[in-house]
Structures are given as structure tokens and as C-alpha cells.
Assembly symmetry: C2
DNA sequence: TTGACTAATGACAGCGCTGTCATTTACGAT
DNA sequence: ATCGTAAATGACAGCGCTGTCATTAGTCAA
């Protein structure tokens, strides 16, 4: 949304300007802070403080103000507050995709964490485009957000500068980094990939391949770790690494597996960059009559709910996406609250190997940072 | 979020109050409409009009204003605009769940439709609780939204009254009704259920059952239609209708199928209220060594991407959730724009039977309203 | 009791924009 | 040239809240 595009403002229709009063909502004579203050016998600014910084108001006044709020059903006007304080209660959330199953759990964590908070979420979908991400960051910062949550650590140079100088806490998620912009919460994609490599090697597979789609930076890091893990035992083979820029899907998993066998028919295992691909690969393997896991191993990534129920249950790597969503909000709240003690600026979580029926030795439980 | 809960305002930390200027964002001396007006040699109000109602400003002034906007990088302040106009550009979106795969596609449609619009989305998750939905409606209306999008047609009495008197367009989605609150877009859940019944009957199944979880009103309507369809041919059997209030999941699909066979071992087909359950049921059927579709038929609902790739591919009902998301925003935009011609207030979409490999006759293509 | 603090409260102005209504300009008809 | 109408523009006030700074009340030690 550029400055110019804002010009096409769809607002301005005259939708029922004559308001109707119901349940005190949207009444023409809205309950304001002044009303509350008057009812409590204090000034407006004291009422304002009572709501925002209760400690700064006397016990007595506070009680009267709170009860007036209750009685009148006062609800603060976010717009007025934002205008006066040059700060909205919006937390911007930049995600590469809305479809992605990872996103759903992440979002759930975020929403669980803002509950009983006055924070509000605004989602921006940059569709895996770094330049779109950059422009969304610009747009969001113009709205004076309370915080910004971004995916990953691979922003453009300009985006990174904006984030570093942003007048609000910024949280990078889903990945770790030694040079975070500000706060960061995630797990090591690279180490997770290495862990998968070890798992497949330990299971005795000797000609492992890879399927990847829509190679965003996180997937790339994962895959880099995987290949590095294979390389240490001399099993990295570029012919077996099949990727596509197209979106990831179950159908794509099947196609890519076919491509893999076309390129290297003797491949005996695959790491799929996510569980959708892995599910597709498993279905395709079934169609081809492969014996999974005996003669062909499959390992997914993310550990979706579905995966453990497939036949055979899918080996995958469980990622803490819900926790990352929750934690990202916690980091922002801590940054916003001067009273919060020493909340760390960095949270490292683990990805956990869930070895199941699509790979041979299904009893090891590894952990990756 | 009640009035009182707003009291715990997490904002108010003093996050870097001293602003840093970068790329004109959040600079202490922000570019305002006045700056634009001055640069263009007009008054502020004219500049404001040029942006919101270009037709009301002369060609000449408009051009100068637009170029000033460009040059200065002006971005309107949403808070100030909201305060002055008593109208935000927020569209509230009330959904029963964030996890649900249906939700993801719906959301994608919504976000695609607000692109290049100044509208903004605010999501409220009411977790299948009608009372929570009601309180979210109240909260949202307090924020003077541009529009409200709700799921289904089964709000509480109080919620319905609020919606009817809301000073903004309201769109009900996912279901049809003869008494919509305002605008409505969806398909008939009931007819979809009937369609499934016909499909199973036509395929020759004679002892069909049902699996349902988390019985929200839409699922209930679907199931009512299904049972009605069975009843017309005397095949409705309450023993075969297995439901649970617990959340729907792939794992739950397997469990429910086990329950079904425990209750009625001779059941020869199931309609699963969504594809997650259906996938779980299919996996469970495989574990039990049932011959699908010959001796046991399975039909899902929603037609997720995964379904067509399963082995065998899952028969399901494709629902237009993406289109509903897009359409809901279109309905709101039309309502907001007095110029928009005669956009209907009601949009009926179709759910389409996708007969595949988990039911016997897999070549009919039906449609339900 | 006084003084030196800190805690509690309030007056005021203004955040940036838009609704209202008054005023000016443009333009065609007389 | 004059008038009447519509189009274009502008002055003004105020939306509801909060930052700033001044003022008053409260507390404790001497």
C-alpha cells in the first residue's frame, strides 16, 4: 500500500449516518472519559491515569473511577488515544503466507497471547516477496504500532534499517540469528536440517534425497543444514536435491517425488521440507508400491496434526510454532512494560524429531536448537 | 474484552520516545495534510477532499495535490481520520476458530480483496462460543468499524439486535438464510448435506453413518440435511450418527470411526462433517483393512487440497470458502460506496460434489445451493 | 511547627484530520 | 453587463484523549 494507493479511499459512503442507540454502542452521545471523570468526581486526566497507570492514582480515586467505568460501560476510544499519544495499540504481524499450516498455529499462539490485553493484531501478507515485505514494514511503521513481528531474519537491507530504527519493539520469529534486529524467538532451521540428516543416516539410509518447494529463507536454511549433515558422511548428492519455486502442496509432493525418481531412481529416502510435501510423497510412494519405511524412508517437517495419523505415521520434526506466536507477543509486552523485570531479548526453542513409521528406526528422540 | 479488562493497558512503556528519522517514517515532524496543502497551494480541507472524493476537486488542484503527496511521501494518519470522522477503516472479522483449514482459505480471500484498499482487517476469534461472539461484536462496534463480517446466521438474540442496528454494513457468511441481518454470502449447508446423502444412496450404500465433531451450527445444518436426505429413502438410522463436542481433527476421525463400528458394525459408508475427520476415517479404515470404496464408502466435506491426493483420493464436497471471503469484502465495499450501482445484498454460491475414489460411483458431479 | 520532600491531582493545549456551513469562483443565459 | 445557478474552495471548530508542567495534598524528620 503506497502513499498514492491510499488515495482510493473506499470509505466515505454515508452509511446510516443517523445513529441508533443500542446497548450504548455507537450512540451519538458516546460515553467519554469526561463522563467517567465527572461521575467519579475527578478530572479527566486522573481518570485516564487510573486506567493506564493505576499505581499513580490514590486507592480511593481509583475505586471510584473503576466503578464509574463499570456503571457507565465506558470503553476507551482507540483512535483518540492513538492520536493523543502518537501510539496505537496495534501490533503488526508480517507473514509470508496465509495458507500455510504453520501460520495457523503461529497465529493461534499470537491471539491467545493478546487475550485480555488491549493489543490488537494487524496482519500483513507479503507472499514471500522481500520487496513487498519491505513496503509493508514501511506502511505499518507509519501507523505508529506498539510492536512489529516479522518472519525470519532475512529482510532486505532497507527493511532491516527501518526495523532497527523503529520506535517500537520488533520481534523476529521462526529462526535464530546472532545479529537480531531487536528481539528474537525461534529455533535453528539449520540445526533442524542437520538433525534430519543424522536421523536418516542412523536409520541406515545411504542414498537420501530432498524435496523442497517455495524456497523461502527458512526452508533454505533447513536444507543447507540437511546437506551439510549429509556431507559430513559423504552422502550429499546434488542430483537427489529436487526443489521448485512453486507453492508447496500435497500434490506438489507427489510430483517432486516422481521427479526425484526420474533423476535418481536408486534414492532410498527423502527429507521433505514440510509435511504437506511429505504427505504427497508418501501417497505417491504408496501408488508406486514402494515399501515404506523398509526400502524407502520419508521424513517431513513441522509435524502437523495429521502426520501422526497417516498410514504409516509420518516421521517429522515438531516445530514450536504455537509457542513462537505466544512468545513473540510476550516479548513485545515485556518491552512495552517498563516494570517488567528482565525479560530476555532472545528466546531459543527446540525442534524435536518425531521418528515414526515412515523411517526405519523409530525410537530415537532428538532435539535441535 | 469487556470494558473493565481494557483497564489493564499494557501500553505506556516509554519505548524510545526520542524518535529517529529514517525514510520519513515516524519522524518527529511527520508530514501532515497541512504540509501537502501548503505545498500544493490549497487549504487542508481541499487536500483532504482531493484524497477522499477526487471528483469534488478541480482537475488542476487535484493534480497539484497528488504530486505533493508523492513528493512529500504523505501517508494519512488513520487515528486522526478515525477521530474526526467517527469511522475507522477497520473491518471486523469474527471467526469461530483460527485452526480450521476452512478459515485459512476464507482469510486468504478476505486479504486478497482488501488489497489496494485502505480497509484493514481485525480478527476476533470466538472459539465457537456464542456468548464470546456476542461480546466481541460489542467490542468491535465500539471501535466504529467500516464493516463487520460474521460467521453463520446463528448469533444470540442480543448479538443479532446489535448487528441489525449497527451503523455499518454487516455480512453474514458461510450459510444462507431467509432473514439475513443485512448482507449475506454463502451456500446452503442443509442442501449440501442432502446432496451427500443422495450421492451415497446413488452409489448403492444402504447403511450409511455419520461422523461429526465440534458441532457448530453450520455442521449441524449440514448433518440435518444429510439425515433428511437419508430419511426420504428410509435409511436414516440414529445409531449410526456419531458426534462429539470435542474439536475436530484427523485423530478424532479415526476414533469416531472406531466408535461407529462399535455401535453399528454393519455400517457401509460414512459422511464425515469435514475432511480432517474423513482423512482420519480413511486412515483408520486402512488400518482395519477395509476395502474402500467397495465395501466401505467415505465422503468428506470442504475438499481440502490434500484430499484429492490421498490414496484412494477422497470423495468430498468442495466449498467456495475463498470466494466467500472475497465476496464478503466486496459486499462491504459496495455498501460503503454510494456510487456503486446495484450490488446485490445477497450472494448464493454453490457447493460442488467431488466424487472420487472413496465412494463407488465416482463420475457424478452434483451441485448444492 | 516547619521545611523538604514525594505523592496525587489538575489545567491546558494540541495530536491530524474531517463535518458543517459560509464564501468565492466559474459559467452559461438573459 | 447582469443575474442565477452550480462548482470549487476555505474557515472554523472539535472529535476524545494524553503529554507536559504547574499546583496542591500528604508524609516524615528535625
Amino acid at each position: 500500500m503506497t502513499a498514492l494507493s491510499l488515495v482510493n479511499n473506499p470509505i466515505g459512503g454515508d452509511w446510516r449516518r443517523g445513529w441508533i442507540v443500542y446497548d450504548n454502542i455507537m450512540a451519538r452521545n458516546r460515553i467519554t472519559l469526561d463522563d467517567v471523570a465527572r461521575a467519579a468526581g475527578v478530572s479527566a486526566i486522573t481518570a485516564s491515569r487510573a486506567l493506564r497507570q493505576p499505581a499513580k492514582v490514590s486507592e480511593r480515586a481509583r475505586a471510584r473511577i473503576f466503578s464509574a467505568v463499570q456503571k457507565l460501560g465506558y470503553v476507551p476510544d482507540a483512535a483518540a488515544s492513538a492520536l493523543a499519544s502518537t501510539r496505537t495499540s496495534v501490533v503488526g504481524l508480517l507473514v509470508p503466507s496465509l495458507t500455510n499450516a504453520v501460520f495457523a498455529d503461529f497465529l493461534r499462539g499470537v491471539y491467545d497471547a493478546i487475550e485480555d490485553t488491549s493489543l490488537t493484531i494487524q496482519i500483513g501478507n507479503f507472499r514471500y516477496s522481500p520487496s513487498k515485505e519491505e513496503s509493508l514494514i514501511r506502511t505499518f511503521l507509519h501507523q505508529r504500532p506498539s510492536g512489529l513481528i516479522v518472519a525470519g531474519v532475512d529482510q532486505t537491507e532497507a527493511a532491516r534499517r527501518m526495523l532497527m530504527e523503529a520506535p517500537c519493539p520488533v520481534v523476529q520469529t521462526m529462526e535464530l540469528s546472532d545479529q537480531p534486529v531487536d528481539r528474537i524467538i525461534g529455533f535453528s532451521q539449520y540445526a533442524s536440517g542437520e538433525m534430519v540428516a543424522r536421523h536418516l543416516i542412523d536409520a541406515g539410509y545411504r542414498r537420501p534425497g530432498l524435496l523442497g518447494a517455495r524456497m523461502d529463507p527458512r526452508a533454505q536454511a533447513r536444507i543447507a543444514g540437511y546437506r551439510s549433515g549429509l556431507r559430513t558422511v559423504g552422502l550429499d548428492d546434488a542430483r537427489r536435491m529436487i526443489t521448485t519455486p512453486q507453492p508447496s502442496s500435497v500434490g506438489m509432493g507427489g510430483q517432486l517425488l516422481a521427479d526425484l525418481f526420474a533423476a535418481a531412481p536408486d534414492t532410498d529416502a527423502v527429507f521433505c521440507a514440510n509435511d504437506d510435501l511429505a504427505a504427497g510423497a508418501l501417497f505417491e510412494a504408496q501408488r508406486r508400491g514402494l515399501r515404506v519405511p523398509e526400502s524407502f524412508g520419508i521424513c517431513g517437517f513441522n509435524d502437523l496434526e495429521m502426520s501422526r495419523h497417516m498410514v504409516p505415521p509420518l516421521t517429522s520434526v515438531a516445530t514450536p510454532r504455537y509457542e513462537i506466536g505466544r512468545g513473540a507477543i510476550d516479548l513485545i509486552r515485556a518491552a512495552l512494560d517498563p516494570l517488567s523485570g528482565e525479560m530476555p531479548k532472545r528466546i531459543e526453542l527446540d525442534a524435536v524429531m518425531s521418528a515414526r513409521g515412515t523411517t526405519r528406526n523409530n525410537k530415537n528422540e532428538r532435539t535441535a536448537r
